[in-house]
């Protein structure tokens, strides 16, 4: 109790300096937390992926289509429990800035294979019945003020023209990490239109969604599917949903690496600032430490006082930083939801914030402690007066 009292009193002896240091740590921890959350948001799709879902796509590239006829062949592969298919529609609402992910999909199978998208049964039935029906995520619906029964028109970027849809369902995510910005409609609606306007693009899909019995079966099923279409005009690559998502991220890996690097640099900078604060503090109090040594306090006591003070300052700054991360992340996530549909502060980010705060406290105190512990009492006492 007495030691804590000294720690807190010492920490705020130089109020301006301590306040500025706390402010610096707060900003650093906030920046660190935000950058880690951005990295987390980058990987949100990976985190949300299921180990029992596979993606079969064209072996050349995702931009090349696969024949719809593959569906039945894939269904015959042992271990496959369900097969669906989707196309990236890439529609925009009114203006290009109103971006959100939109897919033409085989609705019934998709609804079964993505249980994390929670759609009320009555809405699901209405969606299945309506040829132009669409299901949209809660965030996107709120963003544009869409309600059930509304007709919305998307401008096709890959499939030209204006496409009308009727909102028949609004889904919610089963987990915090579930993307609530997506827009689904019937692949048949797209395909029927294409048969009229661009017949050579009809009866093709962007990828197949393949359900497997268990994660253990994924590797064998993947090999079996790809073997089916070997040496065909459209060879396939089948991979887990996680690997599929990671392949997207690998395209922007350099950005993620830079963000990570910057997050660590922020911490190193604040370590230097904090170390300077502690060095100044100890230099000013070296006489007091000498007096304490004279009274019989040992190196552990002196070191504990300096480490403790560093810890108090870092803990206060970190607590503010962590506390501010949540509203900052919410504001950031809301304003950039079209780019980061899932922008949640993960528990691991909070732990990393705490670890960073602790590291700042410990590293900043190391040299001052070494100096204070090593100084001869007589030399320290000479500094007084």
């Amino acid at each position: 109790m007495f030691a804590l009292k000294i720690l807190f009193k010492n920490a705020f002896r130089h109020k301006l300096r301590t306040t500025l240091t706390v402010l610096g740590i707060t900003i650093a921890i906030l920046a660190f937390g935000m950058l880690r959350t951005v990295v987390g948001a980058w990987y949100a799709g990976v985190e949300a992926s299921s180990a029992t879902r596979l993606i079969t796509r064209n072996a050349v590239s995702l931009v090349f289509f696969l024949p719809i006829a593959y569906k039945e062949q894939i269904r015959q592969v042992p271990g496959v429990t369900a097969v669906g298919y989707s196309d990236w529609f890439g529609g925009v609402y009114i203006d290009e800035k109103n971006f959100f992910p939109s897919f033409a999909t085989e609705a019934r199978t998709a609804m079964e294979m993505f249980p994390e998208f929670l759609v009320p049964d009555d809405q699901k039935k209405a969606f299945f019945r309506e040829r132009k029906g669409a299901v949209v995520g809660r965030k996107t619906a709120e963003r544009f003020g869409w309600k059930l029964g509304d007709t919305v028109t998307l401008k096709g970027t890959i499939f030209p023209g204006n496409w009308d849809f009727v909102i028949r369902g609004i889904y919610r995510g089963a987990q915090k990490s579930t993307d609530e910005t997506q827009f689904f409609f019937h692949w048949d609606y797209l395909n029927e239109s294409l048969k009229k306007t661009a017949p050579n693009r009809a009866d093709r899909v962007g990828w197949f969604l393949v359900g497997v019995k268990s994660p253990d079966a994924a590797a064998d099923v993947s090999v079996a599917i790809d073997r089916l279409f070997k040496n065909s005009l459209a060879e396939t690559v089948t991979e887990t949903e996680k690997a599929f998502q990671l392949s997207f991220i690998s395209m922007t890996e350099a950005i993620v690496v830079v963000i990570r690097l910057v997050s660590y640099i922020v911490i190193v900078i604040i370590m230097a600032v904090m170390a300077n604060t502690m060095a100044m503090t100890v230099r000013e109090r070296i006489g007091e430490y000498a007096v304490m040594k004279t009274l019989g306090f040992g190196a552990w006591h002196i070191g504990g006082l300096i480490f403790g003070e560093s810890l108090v300052i870092a803990a206060i700054g970190s607590a503010f930083g962590i506390g501010l991360t949540f509203p900052a992340a919410k504001a950031f996530g809301d304003s950039l939801s079209q780019y980061f549909p899932v922008f949640n502060v993960a528990r691991s980010t909070i732990y990393m914030d705490m670890a960073a705060g602790l590291a700042v406290a410990v590293v900043a105190a190391l040299f001052p402690v070494w100096r204070a512990v090593r100084i001869r009492i007589a030399d320290g006492l000479r500094r007084i007066g």
Binding site: K9, G296, I377
Partner: protein
């Protein structure tokens, strides 16, 4: 009058030098003397004569190059740094020229500080600190911070801090050097009382002949050599 008091400090053939670059500067040269229990001894001498160094050696905050220093029967020249720290905590009370109180602690907390190393309970620490502050007539200033006290009051708090652990010896380095005449008198009277009424042994470094006049024995150091001693008055 024969002095039958036990010897509390035994100093034998102590040498001490400092290294300044490649030069070795001798500070103490073959110092030998005893201090009986309950003695009030003043060390005098010009600046650089080695009196503060000798005080530091007796108090165990510096190490002699050679020789032996026994305090209360313990040869402190053989103790490790850690053991010396523990030894100081229970055997030495310090009174400094500039009081050296912790500015963030109240008078009471400053006096309680050395007791944290003793293993006493919180209640016992409180009782001891209150007694020590009462002994220096500062019972009404327990919650004051050093900045709220005069120099004389701060030095009285420092004395309370020095005696609160009931140490074997008290060492004082220019205890009146930063005080006005009246406050200096009060402090010296207080130190005298500690010797006469409680039987404490005090070793004091001073430049001030008036302060030295309160001591029973005055020892002079000149260029590291103890060259004479003058008994100013009988102890006890």
């Amino acid at each position: 009058m024969a002095d039958n008091r036990p010897i509390i400090v035994e100093i034998r053939n102590v040498f001490k030098s400092y290294r300044r670059g490649s030069q070795v500067v001798p500070v103490l040269d073959d110092i030998t003397f005893d201090i009986p229990e309950g003695e009030f001894l003043a060390l005098m001498g010009p600046s650089g004569s080695g009196k503060s160094t000798l005080l530091n050696l007796i108090a165990g905050i510096d190490k002699a190059d050679s020789g032996a220093i026994k305090v209360g029967g313990v040869d402190i020249t053989t103790l490790s740094e850690t053991d010396l720290a523990a030894w100081r905590a229970t055997n030495v009370g310090f009174i400094f020229q500039f009081y050296n109180l912790m500015p963030v602690l109240t008078a009471f907390e400053n006096v309680e500080l050395p007791l944290l190393l003793t293993g006493l309970s919180r209640r016992q620490r409180r009782e001891h600190a209150e007694t020590a502050l009462a002994a220096v007539n500062l019972s009404d200033r327990v919650d004051h911070y050093p900045s709220q006290l005069s120099g004389g009051q701060q030095q009285r708090v420092a004395i309370a801090r020095a005696v609160v652990t009931d140490p074997t010896i008290l060492v004082a380095d220019e205890p009146t050097g930063d005080l006005d005449r009246r406050s200096a008198e009060e402090i010296l009277d207080l130190m005298e009382r500690l010797v006469h009424e409680v039987g404490k042994t005090i070793i004091m470094v001073t430049h001030d002949p008036r302060a030295a006049g309160k001591a029973h024995i005055i020892k002079h150091l000149e260029k590291g050599v103890l060259n004479n001693h003058v008994r100013s008055q009988d102890p006890l």
